[in-house]
C-alpha cells in the first residue's frame, strides 16, 4: 500500500461545492407577470419540509428544507410597512394552529419563527404531523394575532439544493446514500445566504455560503473552535445557531454550540480560508444549547439576546463582546459560565426568538405553570 500525497482535499472541497449546488429557476413564467426579482420564477416550491426561516432582501423569505436538502427563496409579497412599536401575542398557539390544520396540538411542530422586517408579520414554519403524514406548512400571523396560511402556489421562488456529493459508483445495501445535512440555522448577509448544518454521519461543523440570487456554486467552510473548557483540545462540534454581528468593527458571525460555547468567526476569513478556527468568547455553562440568537439596539447600545434550551434568556452587550479575550482556561465546574458576561433574564422555556420591532422581541414560549405554548412579545426595555 502506498501513500500518495496530492492536494486532494482541496479538489475534494471544490467538487463538493460544485456537486452540492444546482439551481432550479424556471417553472412557468406567465407573460403578464410583474417583473420577477432575483432570478425567481413563478411556480410552486416543492418543499418537503419547512425548517429554518430567515428574511433576505426585499420580500424574500428563505426556507430551509432539510428533508429535501434545499433552501428555497420565496417572494412573500408582504411589503405593507408597519412602523408601530406594539406587541402582539397568540395564546395557545399550538392549539390554534392545530384547529386551523385540522389536527391535534401534539401533531403540530413549530420549527422556526421569523418576523418580516417591514410588515412585522410573524412567519411560522410548521410541520403538520410527525410521521409519514407530515406536511410542511408556512403560516403568517399579523399584529392582531390572526393566523393564515401563506400559499405556496403560483409564487415567485428560486431554490438551491445542498445534496451531498454522490457516493461515487457504489451502491449500499439500502440502495442509496443515506447522508443528510440538517439545516440548523440560516442568515442573509451582503448578498450571501449562510447555511449552518449538521451531518448525520460525520461529527463536523460545516458552513455553506450560497450567493443570492442563487447561482451554481455553494462555498463550503469547515469550522472548529477551542472548547472553552480546555485550552488544548479542539472540537468540531456543529453549530446550533448563529448570528451575523459586528465585533470590533469587523463583520463577524457569533456561533452558538451545544454544551455551550459561543465563538466568533470573521466574515473576511470565511471568504478567504476554507478551514478556520473560531475564537471562543464565552461559555454559557454546560448542559445547555443556545437555540436562537438576535441582535438589537437599546439606547444606542447594541446587544445580543440568546434563547437557551436549559437556561434562561440571556442578554450580552456588544461592548463586552468587543472586549472579550479568547478563552483558553477551563471553567471550574460543570455548569459554570465564563467569558463574556451575560444578564440572565427571568424568562424560561423560550424555543423561538426574533425581533418584532424597536421595542419588542417575539418568542414562542412554554408556560411552566399551565403547560401552554404561547407566542408572546417581550419588551426590550429591561434586556
Amino acid at each position: 500500500m502506498k501513500l500518495a500525497r496530492k492536494p486532494w482535499m482541496i479538489t475534494l472541497v471544490v467538487a463538493v461545492a460544485i456537486a452540492a449546488a444546482f439551481v432550479v429557476n424556471a417553472a412557468r413564467t406567465p407573460p403578464t407577470a410583474a417583473p420577477l426579482i432575483m432570478g425567481m420564477a413563478i411556480g410552486a416550491p416543492d418543499l418537503q419540509s419547512a425548517g429554518t426561516l430567515a428574511f433576505g432582501p426585499e420580500n424574500v423569505l428563505f426556507i430551509g428544507d432539510s428533508q429535501g436538502a434545499a433552501v428555497f427563496a420565496v417572494d412573500v409579497k408582504d411589503a405593507a410597512k408597519d412602523a408601530a412599536a406594539e406587541p402582539m401575542a397568540i395564546k395557545g398557539i399550538d392549539v390554534k394552529i392545530a384547529s386551523l390544520l385540522g389536527t391535534t396540538p401534539d401533531a403540530v411542530v413549530i420549527n422556526d419563527v421569523a418576523v418580516h422586517p417591514a410588515s412585522q408579520n410573524v412567519y411560522l414554519a410548521i410541520s403538520r404531523g410527525r410521521g409519514n403524514d407530515a406536511r410542511p406548512v408556512l403560516l403568517r400571523a399579523n399584529r392582531k394575532g390572526e393566523l393564515e396560511e401563506v400559499a405556496l402556489q403560483g409564487v415567485p421562488f428560486s431554490k438551491v439544493t445542498l445534496a451531498n456529493p454522490p457516493a461515487h459508483g457504489a451502491k449500499t445495501k439500502w440502495g442509496g446514500d443515506l447522508r443528510r445535512m440538517t439545516i440548523t440555522d440560516l442568515a442573509y448577509v451582503d448578498g450571501e445566504l449562510l447555511i449552518a448544518g449538521m451531518s448525520n454521519t460525520e461529527f463536523a461543523s460545516t458552513l455553506r455560503r450560497a450567493p443570492f440570487p442563487f447561482q451554481k456554486d455553494v462555498a463550503v467552510n469547515t469550522l472548529e473552535i477551542f472548547h472553552t473548557s480546555h485550552n488544548k483540545y479542539e472540537t468540531h462540534s456543529p453549530i446550533e445557531s448563529f448570528l451575523p454581528f459586528t465585533i470590533n468593527g469587523k463583520p463577524s458571525l457569533l456561533a452558538g454550540y451545544g454544551c455551550a460555547p459561543i465563538a466568533s468567526f470573521t466574515l473576511a476569513d470565511l471568504k478567504t480560508k476554507q478551514h478556520l478556527r473560531g475564537t471562543t468568547l464565552a461559555e454559557l455553562g454546560g448542559g445547555n444549547r443556545p437555540l436562537d440568537m438576535v441582535a438589537f439596539a437599546k439606547e444606542g447600545q447594541r446587544r445580543v439576546l440568546i434563547a437557551n434550551s436549559d437556561r434562561t434568556l440571556m442578554s450580552m452587550s456588544a461592548q463586552d463582546i468587543d472586549k472579550a479575550t479568547p478563552m483558553t482556561k477551563p471553567v471550574d465546574a460543570a455548569y459554570v459560565s465564563a467569558g463574556v458576561p451575560y444578564l440572565s433574564i427571568a424568562e424560561i422555556g423560550i424555543t423561538q426568538l426574533d425581533n418584532l420591532n424597536d421595542k419588542y422581541v417575539v418568542v414562542v414560549q412554554r408556560d411552566i405553570d399551565d403547560g401552554s405554548l404561547n407566542l408572546r412579545s417581550l419588551s426590550k426595555n429591561w434586556m
Binding site: G102, T103, E240
Partner: protein, 322 residues
C-alpha cells in the same frame, strides 16, 4: 341531511339552497379557528375538501348552517410491525470513547421527542443521565429509518470539564444496555413491535487512529465478479463506509459496484457490476473516514491541537487483479 367523510372529502347531501349555505369544520374547540379547506357547491349539497387530509380517529365537527354533526374517519387497525432492525456498531464490546450509534429501523419512523425513548442503562438497570448529545435538530436520514445517536462528546473528550466532572458516559469494564422503548411511534403512528435492548461491555478507550497501512486487501480474480475485500485494522463507522472508499481502475475510472460491510464493521466488501479485468486498481480513501471513537485517518477525535498534523491529504490503497 346525510353526512359522509373520507380523508380527502366531507360530503353533506340534502342541503337546501346549497349556494347560500355555510359550512365549517372544527377539530378543536368551537371558538377556535375552523379547518382550512375549500367548499364545493353541488346540486344537492356541499362538499368540503380539507387542505390537509382528515386524521383517522379524530372527531371533526361539521356545521352546515345550524345543523352540526360529528364525523370520524375510521382508523384502520394496523399491527405493530416496525422494529429496530440493527444497531451499529454491531459488536458487543465497545471502546469507552464510543462516539455514535446508528439505529436502523425496519420502516420510517415519527420524529420529535426521540430522546425520551432512548436509554443507556448500567448494570444495575439505572439510567446513565445525560449520556447523549440532544441536538435541537434530530439527526435522521432522508428516509427517517436511520437515527444517528451521538454520545455526549463533551463527556468523551479528555480534559473537557464535563468529562472531568461527570466522567465519560461509558466506563471501562462496565456492562451497559442501550434500550429503545416500544412506545416510539413509527411513521404510521404505531408503536414498535417490541422493546429493543443491545447489551455491551466497555473496553479500553480507542486513542489510535485507523491505519490504512495495516489494512489487508484481498484482491479478486480477473474475469470474475468476486468481491474485493478490505479488512481494516479495527471496526470503522458503518455510515461513513457507505461512501468513503472509491475503487478506480488504472486509468482512474470509477468502478461501479455494490457495498457490503461485515465482521463487526471490520470488513468492506465491494462487488463490481462488471467482472474484474487484469491489472492494477486503486482505492481512494476519504481521510475523514472514522473509527468508532471518531478518530479519522488524519486526526484523533480529541487530538491535542498542539501536535503538528500529519499532513496526509489523500490516501490511496493499491491492489492488482490477476
Amino acid at each position: 341531511m346525510s353526512w359522509n367523510a373520507s380523508a380527502g372529502t366531507i360530503d353533506v347531501r340534502g342541503v337546501r339552497h346549497p349556494a347560500r349555505a355555510t359550512l365549517t369544520v372544527h377539530s378543536g374547540p368551537s371558538d377556535a379557528l375552523p379547518m382550512l379547506g375549500r367548499v364545493e357547491i353541488r346540486d344537492d349539497g356541499l362538499a368540503f375538501h380539507p387542505r390537509f387530509p382528515l386524521v383517522p380517529g379524530l372527531a371533526y365537527r361539521v356545521r352546515v348552517n345550524d345543523a352540526e354533526n360529528t364525523i370520524v374517519v375510521p382508523k384502520t387497525a394496523t399491527e405493530a410491525t416496525t422494529h429496530v432492525a440493527q444497531v451499529f456498531p454491531t459488536a458487543n464490546e465497545l471502546p469507552s470513547n464510543q462516539l455514535k450509534f446508528y439505529l436502523d429501523f425496519s420502516a420510517p419512523m415519527s420524529t420529535g421527542d426521540v430522546y425520551r425513548h432512548i436509554h443507556l442503562l448500567d448494570e444495575a438497570g439505572h439510567e446513565v443521565p445525560r449520556a447523549f448529545l440532544q441536538t435541537a435538530h434530530e439527526l435522521w436520514d432522508w428516509r427517517r429509518q436511520r437515527f444517528t445517536l451521538i454520545l455526549d462528546p463533551g463527556r468523551i473528550k479528555r480534559g473537557l470539564r464535563a468529562n472531568v466532572e461527570a466522567g465519560a458516559p461509558l466506563r471501562e469494564g462496565a456492562r451497559y444496555r442501550l434500550v429503545i422503548d416500544a412506545d416510539w411511534r413509527d411513521g404510521d403512528g404505531n408503536p414498535l413491535r417490541e422493546r429493543f435492548s443491545k447489551p455491551f461491555v466497555v473496553v479500553a478507550a480507542d486513542r489510535v487512529m485507523p491505519a490504512h497501512r495495516k489494512w489487508r486487501v484481498t484482491a479478486p480474480s480477473a474475469r470474475t465478479a468476486e468481491p474485493l475485500r478490505v479488512t481494516f485494522d479495527e471496526s470503522l463507522d458503518r455510515a461513513l463506509l457507505d461512501h468513503s472508499l472509491i475503487v478506480r481502475d488504472a486509468r482512474g475510472e470509477i468502478i461501479l459496484g455494490d457495498i457490503d460491510v461485515a465482521s463487526s464493521e471490520t470488513e468492506w466488501l465491494f462487488r463490481p457490476r462488471q467482472p474484474w479485468r487484469d491489472g492494477p486498481y486503486t482505492i481512494d480513501v476519504d481521510p475523514r473516514l472514522e473509527d468508532r471513537a471518531g478518530n479519522n485517518l488524519r486526526r484523533l477525535f480529541d487530538e491535542d491541537a498542539t501536535t503538528p498534523r500529519s499532513g496526509v491529504e489523500v490516501i490511496q490503497v493499491h491492489f492488482a487483479v490477476k
